[in-house]
């Protein structure tokens, strides 16, 4: 059962940081060597085990339901409980990751700004008007696109006002 808890730990560490694929594979191969199991069968077992938490995440299963699933699949009560415990601890992180993976259209990644004064132009020798320039970095598909926009001062204040209304609206739905 110590083996099982060590394996579970490796599994959850991967689930909470899905980008650390190499680390996960390295830890699996260490586990295999330490416990004198060959890596191939271990990988297959792990693949099957990972199906359970992934399905559970999709369907928002509680830890009791996860435990019941494992028992139905033939795992001992003790091991299933242990896994379910780990699940309960990690599920907020895992849920947040799943929500984060949800489709976003033209996601705003970053915003840079500068404002200044127009001193003069080819039509007017002295101007003295304030301009505000925003650079919006937007993720379109897998690429980043920069959008440049200029706003007048009244437009800026009305933009700010609208964004504050959006914030109030989002907060009331959280």
């Amino acid at each position: 059962s110590q083996q099982f808890s060590a394996l579970t730990e490796v599994l959850f560490r991967f689930l909470t940081e899905p980008k650390e694929v190499e680390r996960f594979l390295a830890q699996l191969s260490d586990f295999a060597t330490m416990n004198k199991i060959s890596l191939g069968p271990l990988k297959n077992i792990v693949k099957s085990i990972l199906l359970v938490p992934n399905g559970a995440l999709k369907r928002n299963l509680s830890s009791e339901q996860v435990k019941a699933d494992f028992i139905a699949l033939g795992l001992s009560e003790e091991k299933a409980s242990y896994f379910a415990e780990q699940w309960k601890v990690n599920s907020p992180t895992l849920t947040r990751l799943a929500v984060g993976q949800t489709l976003m259209i033209n996601q705003l990644i970053d915003m840079e700004w500068k404002f200044g004064v127009t001193a003069g132009s080819s039509e007017l020798e002295k101007v003295g008007s304030i301009f505000l320039q925003l650079k919006l970095v937007i993720k379109k598909g897998s690429q980043l696109e920069n959008v440049y926009v200029e706003l007048t001062l009244p437009q800026f204040y009305s933009f700010l006002h609208e964004m504050e209304r959006v914030k109030t609206s989002l907060e009331s739905f959280s």
Partner: protein, 198 residues
């Protein structure tokens, strides 16, 4: 810097043949707003009786355009300043009439010049809506509010002539992104009021 060359002032004297003061007024307004490329057609349309031929008509239009633009560029607001632009021997009544017309239109023309100056694409409109995401392929049941912001952006007016290109950009913001954005916008507002209070 001299406003106009002598030949241009000479061309302006053709206005003495204008049918009425309103005709002169109308012509001044059209000449100010017209880009140099459109002088030819404007000259043909607006000054049939004023000039001896098409070349002289175009010279008149060009001279009026340059005179009005010069006044707007220098930001002249007083009658004396405008009167002093004309040469000594310029027809007195015409000089006074032109000065009067220019003074009447100066603030409208100034706004027009400012509106048409070069700039980055400008924001013309913005709309938003708040959606609640209830389900996706990665998680079947959730209730995540998200904001969709649509910005209508117009390309540089000078590049587009009379057909401004307006593109609509729809951007999605999560609550965290919106909070960060509001923080940034708040900082801009603070800096703006600091500058305004100096």
């Amino acid at each position: 810097m001299a406003a106009l060359r002598d030949a241009e002032f000479a061309a302006l004297q053709s206005l003495l043949k204008a049918p009425s003061k309103d005709a002169v007024r109308q012509l001044c307004q059209e000449c100010f707003s017209s880009p140099p490329a459109a002088f030819g057609p404007l000259a043909q349309r607006a000054c049939p009786g004023l000039a001896a031929g098409p070349e002289e008509a175009e010279q008149l239009v060009s001279a009026l355009h340059n005179l009005t633009r010069h006044v707007v560029y220098c930001g002249l607001t007083r009658a004396e300043d405008i009167l002093s632009l004309f040469p000594e021997n310029f027809h007195q009544n015409l000089k006074n009439l032109l000065t009067k017309i220019i003074l009447e239109n100066i603030s409208v023309w100034r706004n027009e010049a400012q509106a048409s100056q070069i700039s980055l694409p400008r924001l013309v409109d913005m709309d938003w809506r708040v959606d609640i995401k209830t389900s996706s392929d990665s998680i079947i049941r959730m209730a995540v509010p998200t904001c969709l912001l649509q910005l209508k952006i117009q390309e540089d007016a000078a590049l587009c002539g009379n057909n401004p290109v307006v593109s609509a950009l729809t951007v999605e913001l999560s609550k965290e992104t919106l909070d960060t954005m509001l923080e940034g916008l708040g900082r801009i507002r603070d800096q703006l009021s600091a500058v305004a209070n100096k």
